[in-house]
Point group: C2
Chain length 175, copies 2
DNA sequence: CTTGACATGTTATTGTATAACATACATAGG
DNA sequence: CCTATGTATGTTATACAATAACATGTCAAG
């Protein structure tokens, strides 16, 4: 079921190397790859990737963009899973807790993690035009956050960095 | 109406210099100072700091922490202003747009800006214990974000950086 | 004083998220 | 085998957050 994108030229958020995250490519490949790695990671962590959870992850990977909990729920319901909010939220929370998905607070939405097991708490680059989300390595950014926090005596446990702007594709098509 | 804090030893988020943001101090002083600067800034921008808007800013300054829109609304209603959600949201949106307050997405809440006119889009340090929010200078952090975004061809327009953790006071009282 | 722009007030609704409880399902210990 | 236990799922109901759409009021420029 390999296919080219038909929803956009850009494919933000795809797996490493980051340099191609926004480049045009067939992402059924990277999605499959991510799913395999996600399964391995879940196993390694003793987390159970049950049918609903796995299906939610697949949905996020297929859509390849940030999806609201109710969007996910709608798809689940259509496939015979429960059709009440907690079904979606529980699966999504599980994925987030286990590093298989991210919550994009600015969009009240969730997106599959494209680098499971690697750099958690990445920088999210959110295109305001096409709504696609890319993950960028956050190590230097987090270092800067830790530094300024430390100077105030604040201990950072988790950080969430979201940048709004224009992805390369949408900047090209600027109106 | 100067008074010492009775809700907490810490006073995160207070105005410059940042080194004292979390230090114990009388914040009625910095709040008044911020309010004066906010008025000046609004005037300079041709923005009208009307009674509701001004009152909302005062409420945020008095509370000195992130407040939900409905918390603000409740206080407004008790003082004879409108008691419907749009009243609070409009005032809050105005303050955010004019750089007088910030929206803390992680908390679905709003907090007064402690450095009106200075460094916008700061780093937010959110204490998970006392819920207090401090603003830290974000220039180096934003530089790091811009760098990684640029390497992907992404143009950053706005960024939102929120760190969860423990403020100095709450780390001391760790249970 | 009237027009136009902006601000406020109100009703109603949509969207997001969670509490609380009931049921099913796996699996390790008896 | 089976039953006790923890975990996962399903369902009902509700809480919390945000906005659409429209009516009214206010103020200053013409």
């Amino acid at each position: 079921m390999a296919h080219e994108h038909d929803h956009s030229d850009a494919c933000p958020g795809c797996a490493a190397p980051p340099q191609v995250a926004f480049a045009r490519h067939d992402h059924s490949h990277c999605a499959g790859d991510v799913l395999a790695r996600a399964e391995a990671l879940a196993e390694a962590q003793g987390a159970r990737l049950t049918p609903v959870r796995r299906r939610v992850l697949e949905i996020l990977l297929e859509e390849h963009r940030a999806l609201g909990a109710y969007d996910v729920l709608q798809r689940l319901a259509a496939e015979g899973f429960g059709n009440q909010p907690p079904v979606a939220y529980r699966a999504l929370d599980f994925l987030v807790e286990n590093g298989l998905a991210h919550r994009i607070r600015r969009l009240n939405a969730f997106a599959a993690c494209m680098h499971p097991g690697e750099d958690h708490a990445p920088v999210f680059l959110i295109c305001r035009e096409c709504n696609h989300v890319a993950e960028a390595p956050a190590a230097p950014v987090r270092a800067a956050v830790d530094a300024v926090a430390a100077s105030l005596g604040f201990t950072v446990e988790r950080s969430n960095i979201e940048a709004m702007g224009l992805c390369p594709a949408c900047r090209g098509t600027a109106s």
